[in-house]
Amino acid sequence: MALPQAKQDALAARIAGLTLPQGGWLGAARAEALARLTAMGLPGKRDEYWRYTDPSALVAPAAPKAALFDPGDERPAFDGIDRVKLVFTDGVFDAAASDDPALAGVEIERLAKAGGADIHWAQGLYGVLEARGQVPVARPLAALNSAFATDGVLIRVTGRASKPVSLIYRHESETSDAILHHCVKVESGAEFTLLESGPAAARFCKVLEVEVADGARFHHIRAQGRDHERRAVTHVFARLGEGSLFKSFTLTANGRMTRNEAVLELTGDDAVAHVAGASMGDGEFHHDDTVFVTHAAERCESRQVFKKVLKNGAVGVFQGKILVKPGAQKTDGYQISQSLLLDEDSQFLAKPELEIYADDVKCSHGSTSGAIDETALYYLRSRGVPLRQAQALLVLAFLAEAIAEIEDEAIADDIRSRLEGWLDRHAH
């Protein structure tokens, strides 16, 4: 079916200022992505998966202006963690501010540099998982990303990485419009941790494609924010091999509009995929977690744990689906989405979905939204814990199940201290 004229026009306006680099294996992948995008058009409010989140700021021809953010005396995320830092300023790799990539003990290449070759390992990955993730739910902004990404890194891990790679984003221009595309391939039996942090740009579109081969382990921890005015859409596409492990945790603090999509496909038997998020919003805050987990093999386990703390009119959205394909027996799927509404002005919209075509599976889902437990608050105070501290303790307790998805204790502590800092700054 041909795209309606209005959608064609909107797409033309959005991509008018973008360039499609030609040549090499990457040029071909970009051209295919553009073809996908042209067939789909940009998302609109009437699209099923955009009913709760207005995509207009994400699809507008130019990035809405976003004031730069001063983090004050807060330490940068993952400050005390030994890691290899790769810095992107307004979506452009900043070699001078970065560590020597060789220190990580893994192959790291910049997208633009690797793309010119005729053949490359990333050929089997770049835009490939994104394309697979377009069915049954269209993700046009991911296709736009694959076509027009201006920068990014390709990481290949063959053994055990000596330290995590930390992608650090910096926002220095009020009108920056960044499109980054990263690929990570964790080869059979290898293990790798990827960290991401910082405000990236006024508007940020990101795709991360991750191939976790048989028996490989991948850990992903990111701290988004605390810039208030950003508009961001991010996607993680992952494919898991036999006996592999994928764990992704995202902390989102502030942000006028953030949509985090995770599309995970368990293709090898006995694979484990966990995706978790803790988000905190005060005032003008819209945060959307859209997750799609496909079980296509036997005895796989998936967990989705999403917790949101909302106040002063903040809005949280969760759209999570577990699809169990025919033959994916002994699947163990779990999904929980919860919001803690700190006042009566905030809102949580949840759409949990299960679609199961195998008969020997265990799948559960739950979604709740509620206020802080007044009885627990009184109990804590009666033991001498001051009101604000008691509230913070209960909020952290609410978030604990999501934070528990971070395996590394030092990183979990870092995330916890950032949450405490946020609660302290946003106490009544």
Partner: protein, 251 residues
Amino acid sequence: MLEINNLHVKLEEEDKVILRGVDLKIGPGEVHAIMGPNGSGKSTLSYVLSGRDGYEVTEGSATLEGAELLEMEPEERAAAGLFLAFQYPVEIPGVGNMTFLRTALNAQRKARGEDELSAGDFLKLVREKAKTLKIDADMLKRPVNVGFSGGEKKRNEILQMAVLEPRMCILDETDSGLDVDAMKLVADGVNALRDAGRSFLVITHYQRLLDHIKPDVVHIMAAGRIVKTGGPDLALEVENNGYADILAEVQ
């Protein structure tokens, strides 16, 4: 220690008067018991003293060592030395028992201008107190009261009391839901804390707890007032004859 004068309390949300002029004076080191039929206002008295929301004091006062209790926030009352062992201890998923205890103790110390206890000193303190209450390491690690049996919850209340070392302890039906052995364990925990500077107010329905925690004074509460005060024998009288005779007598 604790002095309550002519305390009148109603529910905040409805016109239901619960306490109608409670007078009570507990000296340092004394153990007082309050008994009384259901609905007489015993638990309300404990909630109002500890600062729970939902009650309105319409008349009267309550002071702890001369300080006006009713004007303080619940946490200030705790720091001032008041402790309520809950009839129904609250479950707090996600907050570890140790974290809870340490946060509470250090918050109180901070409020009193004392140094916070180091992690090592705190651990030592808790282990020592927990041992006498037969609270194992697992119970200390678990989230506050989550999955605890009735007896474990009550022992956990006494552990908090032992660690926080309040001067005025109110025990609200601490014996409810306990078997004989558990009651003895809890009573031993309480008795270990008795000293000349610490007072207790024990709210109970039954004489049997008072066999283990021997009171100096026993009060009978009915219809929101203390209607009779006596020695330990008064509790025996209730046990043998019920409240009817006493209530008829005072009316």
